[in-house]
């Protein structure tokens, strides 16, 4: 799980072009959207593609994404439980 969280932070920084950030700048339980990291709806689309590309998870219910993308922790938990690769 720890490795997955670190891997996710690196992927988020790379995929979302968070140029001035290091993995250490993102806390595991920090909110990714809104007041936390400040991601927006285009970033959400990028994260949906990231889940499918890297972990073989296809999100069918858009309402799910609100809970899944709450933080690095919630993403990692969802990936652990649903990954196909």
């Amino acid at each position: 799980m720890k490795n997955l969280q670190a891997e996710l932070k690196e992927s988020i920084i790379e995929q979302l072009n968070l140029e001035d950030m290091e993995p250490g700048d993102i806390k595991n339980d920090e909110a990714l959207f809104g007041d936390g990291l400040g991601l927006d709806s285009i970033d959400a689309l990028e994260l949906i593609v990231l889940l499918e590309k890297d972990y073989g998870i296809k999100l069918t219910d858009p309402a799910q994404s609100r809970e899944i993308f709450k933080s690095v922790n919630s993403m990692a938990e969802f990936i652990e439980a649903n990954r196909t690769k």
């Binding site: 072009n17 140029e19 400040g38 927006d40 689309l45 990028e46 593609v49 499918e52 590309k53």
Partner: protein
């Protein structure tokens, strides 16, 4: 009645530094990038991160022009771009190939369209007014200016229009110009561009924005008198075209104090300029600029920018001069541009 249109503010991002006109930057290659301002002065870092250079240059130049005119929200945003957001187009297409047309990430696709810059400026300003982008090869900026002219002519409600042009370099699509023989081969010094008797030119990128208004501000640079665009003109007709344009504006050749020419060192097409230089404007101050900023579809924005500065300040950088004439006070400047013998444009500016 034709209203008077004023250029109340100007901005420029090019391969030249804005405050060192007398000591221009030298480049020794046919493709060179624009010098970036500190984009964080104009764009929030969280939105800046996913922007290509065209978007960054476009928003920054637009904001510079708005700040100078002390306008927060213009009545219209009109943008010209010859090739649009090429960097995102390439990224999107490469993604498409790499991912076997599956799981393509959305950002580069969303931002790959030609009207992205105009849209992003509007989003950044929260401006919901008239917003249009023109893509007409090397007459793209001129088409945007022409629309601006029509907006003022046909509607009395618009007071200030943000109009400009932007084009960026990209690895593959800019490279196509090379493959097509549009760029010079071998080593070339940009400042020696007009000494080269060979095919092709040099290219770069940039953004220019202007606030045009029917109300003259205290900071006004020039009056925007008229514009004309023609897709094709036979070389032997170029003199007549210019004379007709000036006649329409009740001006003779003698009334033009300086002509800014889009000469780009391509000996296959520069004769259009040479004809004017050797005949109608033989006794007129002739200026060039593409040896400084390269040639790209909206490079003529730099000509408008320079002409505005000259009309306001009266001073002319020696590096622009193509002849040695010394005119008195500069009242009228004519700008003529064409690329590969097509998309001929004339812009007439006057001192205020």
């Amino acid at each position: 009645m034709k209203p008077k249109i004023y250029i109340n503010s100007i901005s420029s991002i090019t391969a030249q530094s804005r405050d060192k006109e007398e000591s221009p930057v030298s480049y020794y290659k046919s493709i060179f990038p624009a010098i970036s301002p500190n984009y964080k002065d104009y764009i929030k870092p969280m939105t800046l991160r996913r922007m290509s250079k065209a978007i960054k240059m476009g928003i920054s130049a637009a904001k510079m022009a708005l700040q100078e005119a002390e306008i927060e929200n213009p009545d219209a945003i009109i943008t010209g771009t010859g090739e649009g957001c090429k960097q995102d187009t390439e990224k999107f297409l490469e993604n498409l190939i790499d991912q076997d047309e599956q799981l393509v990430t959305p950002t580069s696709f969303i931002q790959s369209t030609h009207n992205t810059v105009g849209g992003q400026i509007a989003l950044n300003l929260g401006c919901k007014n008239y917003n249009l982008t023109y893509t007409q090869n090397s007459a793209s900026l001129e088409s945007a200016l022409f629309d601006t002219y029509l907006q003022f002519l046909e509607t009395s409600g618009k007071k200030s229009v943000l109009v400009g042009g932007v084009d960026e370099l990209s690895e593959k699509i800019t490279g196509f110009r090379n493959l097509d023989g549009q760029l010079k081969t071998g080593k070339i010094h940009n400042l020696d561009l007009f000494k080269e008797a060979s095919a092709g030119t040099i290219t770069s990128e940039g953004a220019h924005f202007f606030i045009l208004s029917t109300e003259k501000s205290g900071n006004c640079y020039a009056e925007f008198k008229d514009i004309s665009i023609k897709n094709s003109i036979e070389p032997e007709q170029i003199n007549a075209e210019v004379e007709n344009f000036l006649h329409k504006n009740n001006l003779g050749i003698d009334a033009i104090d300086a002509i800014v020419l889009g000469k780009n060192g391509d000996n296959r097409y520069d004769y259009y300029y040479s004809i004017l230089q050797d005949s109608l404007f033989k006794n007129t101050l002739q200026l060039g600029y593409k040896h400084l900023v390269g040639d790209y579809d909206t490079a003529s924005g730099f000509a408008v920018y320079l002409a505005c500065k000259i009309l306001k300040s009266g001073s002319i950088s020696s590096v622009m001069k193509l002849n040695t004439l010394r005119p008195g006070k500069i009242k009228n400047i004519l700008i003529y541009n064409q690329y590969l013998g097509s998309d001929h444009s004339l812009i007439l500016l006057s001192a205020v």
